[in-house]
């Protein structure tokens, strides 16, 4: 049963961009939902202004004809309209600013302590993920590398340049802290579905706080030029598989390492005994 579920979720692509997609991907976290709502708010005012300006422009061009309107009016002042056209455009940005600042500051607030910390380390041209919350010594992190699957090795139904061999497995509906850094050059870790993009700077640990609200497979790509294969690096190495109840049930409690079989299968972790390059 679980195997079937795994197969289905592995092959059926979800939460990746569709061909010719213009809009955002479906939101998987409250942050992304907030971003989309803000976008809709601003877009409303944008359309209002656009229609208004276009109407004036087209009307002026249409009537500026030497035969139909030979004598153009010469108006240079008009106190009322000048006051209106100053006040009105300064009110519109206020309506835009209120939801915008609300979202901006709420995105920064970390109200709840995170439940799990995952480190995403960028390399040229792959990702390494470390889960170190249950180490009992410096050596025991669950660490694995995540490479994009080359086109020749794709199975039917997998997305080109989005699939990776080892996905990051993350519990759903849990506050996560993702620490993003790099081992060589700047990269950037982005998952559009979750509204996350964070630069991976060598020598610096950037923290992002997310809470993914639904199970699924989410994809993302490297968002900072990092060399020849930048276009072929998957940012989260695709955030896989959020399995809330399964995760909790399979992770051994109090053990010094999350070497659960499920996590290993999910991560496809090779050499999970802390062996890494």
């Amino acid at each position: 049963m679980i195997v079937l579920e795994w197969l289905f979720l592995t092959i059926a692509p979800c939460d990746a961009a569709e061909p010719w997609q213009l809009g955002s991907q479906d939101a998987a976290s409250p942050m992304m939902q907030g971003i989309m709502d803000l976008h809709h708010d601003i877009f409303f005012f944008l359309i209002l202004i656009l229609v208004f300006v276009l109407r004036i422009l087209v009307r002026a061009l249409w009537h500026f004809h030497y035969q139909k309107n030979p004598i153009p009016q010469r108006i240079v002042h008009g106190t009322t309209i000048e006051i209106l056209r100053t006040i009105f455009p300064s009110i519109i940005p206020m309506f835009i600013a209120i939801p915008s600042f609300a979202l901006l500051y709420s995105m920064d607030e970390v109200v709840v302590d995170p439940a799990i910390t995952i480190k995403a380390i960028g390399h040229q041209w792959y990702r390494t993920y470390e889960y170190s919350d249950y180490n009992s010594s410096d050596e025991e992190s669950l660490t694995f590398d995540s490479y994009t699957i080359p086109e020749d090795d794709l199975e039917l139904g997998q997305s080109r340049l989005l699939e990776v061999d080892n996905r990051v497995v993350v519990p759903a509906k849990t506050h996560l802290r993702i620490i993003v850094t790099s081992a060589d050059v700047p990269h950037s870790w982005a998952v559009p579905s979750s509204g996350v993009k964070c630069d991976a700077v060598p020598g610096r640990l950037n923290q992002i706080s997310i809470s993914v609200q639904r199970e699924g497979v989410y994809y993302g790509q490297c968002s900072e030029i990092c060399g020849t294969n930048h276009a072929f690096t998957r940012a989260p190495g695709n955030i896989g598989r959020l399995l809330s109840p399964l995760w909790l049930s399979r992770t051994t409690p109090g053990a010094s390492h999350p070497r659960s079989k499920l996590l290993q299968r999910a991560a496809g972790a090779v050499g999970s005994q802390g062996a890494r390059q």
């Binding site: 170190s132 802290r177 640990l205 992770t251």
Partner: protein, 78 residues
Amino acid sequence: MADEIELKTAPADFRFPTTNQTRHCFTRYIEFHRCLAAKGEESNECERFAKYYRSLCPGEWIERWNEQRENGTFPGPL
């Protein structure tokens, strides 16, 4: 599958409220070693700091710092 799992990790530290957590990781590492120096090798108090820095800091950084400590070149107030 049997017991309730408690997911725990390094808590959000109010001393480091911003995105840049480099100092947070470094501070936890230093706190652990200062705690060891003050209280000796075996102490639950110190183990707490150890968990924190292991959660936050990449393994490579920890290896490098451990080597530096052994060589006596660690650039921090241990």
